[in-house]
Amino acid sequence: MTTALLGLGGLLLVMIGAGIGTVGRWALAEHGPRLLARRLPEVDLAVVRPWMTWTANVVSSFLLGIVVTRLGAATGGAGYVFLLLGTGLCGGLSVLSTAAMDVVDLVRRGTASIALGYLMLSVGVSMAFLWLGLVIGS
């Protein structure tokens, strides 16, 4: 009974974190291009949009690096904080499906080289920022 309740609590925390993270990613994709367009009016919004997903992925990798070094091996209460921040928030903020969709979109538009670059930069920079988060967190 207690384990079931604790499991449900963990699930609830993951859901709260994922909800917040997903809304954060949506807000970035929704308002980021508009803010950018105010500064740089000549920028095409359709070109900018995939890079908002990219930004969300890089930021979430960085945050996950910090969260994992602080709470990765934790049990008990801190383990639940990891569920909220790591599995939930960072998992919801980062996204693979939209990123893959963006890559396919870029290929369909006939800009396959940008698609390849986007893919490489997604993986590479995310990894670099994860390490940065690990270093900062420890």
Binding site: I16, A18, S61, A100
Partner: protein, 199 residues
């Protein structure tokens, strides 16, 4: 989100852009707050499902044995397939404005994750399993891209016949079979549910 801009840029996919041009699929009719709510609900459900998969199928990670995290991989592939299929359907069909925020950005987006993949790959590298890390990265990238394309193609093919939408939409909704279904249900309903619950 994707579809209108994308269709506008597709020069060879004339039919898709014509269908889309006739009716806005974008969440234009929704307020920003409502869209955020839909995205949040979808994301919470998606993240919860991803967590459940990882609980049901935990990954074995010891210093000497590192396994490919199948839970994350499966979640990602399924989510990519679903988003590809959703985008494909929205390219050829009209849909309510809440569809993409709730199911695409929210559910599929919350279900799939990039940060966990990066973390797991880096953990493999740190544990001195570079080949496995490379294999996992390649698997994730190739399978997710393949899943998006597959979902897109299949959904576009299935959702294509717009001429008789009733056949495709109606076959799954109970409204399509009002005759026999309704009669049988109404005849049994006073008795059967009570009996069923009593047992």
């Amino acid at each position: 989100m994707h579809t209108v801009e994308m269709a506008a840029l597709q020069l060879d996919e004339v039919e898709a852009s014509r269908v889309l041009g006739s009716g806005p699929v974008q969440p234009g009719g929704l307020t920003a707050r409502r869209t955020a709510l839909l995205v949040g609900i979808g994301g919470a459900v998606g993240g919860g499902l991803r967590y459940l998969i990882s609980v049901i199928a935990p990954t074995v990670t010891t210093p000497t044995l590192v396994e490919i995290p199948w839970a994350t991989l499966w979640a990602n592939v399924i989510g990519c397939l679903a988003l590809g299929a959703l985008t494909g359907v929205l390219e050829v069909r009209r849909a309510p404005a809440w569809t993409m925020p709730l199911l695409g950005t929210g559910l599929c987006g919350g279900f799939t994750t990039m940060s966990a993949v990066v973390l797991e790959g880096s953990a493999m590298l740190g544990a001195d399993f570079p080949i496995l890390a490379l294999a996992y990265g390649m698997l994730t990238v190739s399978l997710s891209l393949g899943a998006v394309v597959l979902g897109l193609l299949i959904a576009r093919r299935i959702a294509r016949p717009v001429a008789d939408p009733a056949l495709h939409d109606g076959s799954r909704t109970p409204a399509a079979l009002p005759g026999p279904g309704a009669r049988v249900r109404s005849a049994e309903s006073p008795v059967s549910p009570v009996e069923g619950e009593a047992r």
